[in-house]
């Protein structure tokens, strides 16, 4: 079993994993808080892309009944869409929380660099 044929079929999933890794490393390693939040959003969006890709079936349509109920085979699976919506709600609220914390820290220390804030805090203590 080689990776070749799988990769050419699932190249979009591979892209979403690479995006996830980019977002993850940004959230972990960037010093700037705003860049961290951007990383968080890239990471979450990559997961939604992955879910949406897995939920899609070639040749079928979105599960919205237009003219009378058709058979089940006509539609794609609606659950990944629901999961993505829930995930978006969660990610919006944590982004808002992070942004508000960033504003608070910026007003106090006039910098967005987390390490610099830590140094300032240590100075404040002594």
């Amino acid at each position: 079993m080689g990776f070749g044929p799988n990769l050419s079929v699932n190249y979009a999933e591979a892209v979403s994993m690479i995006l996830f890794a980019i977002g993850f490393t940004n959230l972990l390693l960037q010093k700037n808080l705003i860049k961290k939040i951007i990383g968080l959003n890239i990471m979450d969006t990559a997961t939604y892309l992955f879910l949406a890709l897995k939920g899609y079936i070639q040749g079928r349509v979105a599960p919205i009944v237009v003219d009378g109920v058709q058979e089940v085979e006509a539609y794609i699976n609606p659950i990944p869409g629901g999961l993505v919506l829930t995930g978006i709600v969660v990610s919006v609220s944590v982004s808002a929380l992070m942004l508000s914390l960033t504003i608070r820290l910026y007003r106090r220390y006039h910098t967005l660099d987390l390490d610099e804030i830590s140094t300032l805090l240590k100075k404040e203590e002594n």
Partner: protein
Amino acid sequence: MDFVQNIPFFSILLSLFSGTVTSMVNGKWAKRINAFIITVIMAMSTVLLFYLLGTKESYTFMMGHFPAPWGNEIRAGVLEALMALFFCIIMLLSLVGGRGHLEREIAPSKQNLYYILINLLLSSLLALIYTNDLFTAYVFVEINTISACGLIMIRQNGHTFEAAVRYMIMSLLGSGLLLLGICILYDCTGHLLMSNIKSSIIMMAATGDYHIPLVVAIAFICVGLAIKSALFPFHSWLPNAYGYSTASSAAILSSLVSKGYIFLLIKICYRVIGWEVILSSKVIHILFLFGLCGMIMGSLSAISENDIRRMIAFSSVAQIGYIYMGIGLGTLEGMTASIYHILSHAATKSLLFIAAVGLTDTSGQSKKFIDLTGAAYRNKPAGIAFTVGALSMVGIPGFSGFISKLLFGTACIQNTPYKMLPTLICLGISTILNAIYFMKTVIRIYTPVKSPYDNMPVKKSFRYAGALVCFVILNIVLGMCSTPIVNMIQMGLKMFS
């Protein structure tokens, strides 16, 4: 269906509902409503626990009107009810013990907000305990994170904001991995309910399909939850978050929030992936290794710490290492020891945080050891309680910590030599290190010296002393009557599979 079976659903909903009610009243009423609701949930969990001990089997509760593969489900067994009861007790005692500080450290206009966060936290913990649906678990993990972040930053100063940001960053990394793991599992199996996923995974493991995605998903979920519960290399946010937040928050965060995630991980191991598949995937060896490192490194950091609250926080890192070590042993005995340690550590660590706050109060709010010299004479209940907590953490017979060390010891002796030797060595070293930093602190607070704080009036609070007495009793009960609790844990674990 018996009426008692509605209890898990009622407790989650009651807690959520009281959150909305407390947002509309002032701080004083919010406090009363909150205490009342926690007591009610505690009583209901007790009833549920006895009911389940009577029926001896777990049950699933259908949410809404759709049956298994489509609808959402709640599941309750002995272990879940025990956890819910225990979490309610700890939460109530931590709130009562830290109430004086809450009233001083949080602006009066924001008092009721604190209780909203507590209610949200409790409901999310209960949901994590009871849910039978992976995606519901993910959503409540996020609610848990957000409310825990609020608990850290409600005492507003630079330190807590920085700690909250660091906490959020680590937590979000963890929940990102958890979400991705859940998505991969969903894509492989086509289900979100734990029992359905498990039957699909057993089939997949038998045929060998999707082997790599399955291992990747297990790794993502384990690592994600390990990051969220501050396993050793991911603990950088923890000392500041526990050290600078208000006392009740520190007690609740260390004893409940991180434990909720560990409980979810145990539940996923048994109920979603299945114990055999977890064992064959070898992911738990990594948890075992990091657990061992955490046991040593956490204690070493605690020894070099000069601040009593941060010292207790680093001790938490070591104790979480113990729990992961027990899970990593990969046996029923190891798992029992881990779950017992979740209870024992929760009871002891919240006691230590609440007692430490009493000691710092009589030392001019300083958390430095040099100012704490002789503090136990200035605040006698706090001194005694701190000593009890310290003895329990070290593992002196009669207190809860001894039983968990005993269980860990027996569990690793029954294991293969590859895991037995390192575990026993690390257990020994870690116990000695524990003894060094806790006994150092106890000796310091009982050193009779003249101190500038001697003549400061000490505000006597019966509420505070009462909470400490309850904590001490809880500790001794866990230490003295461990057999029924261990039996309950084993019965609950049997119900899992």
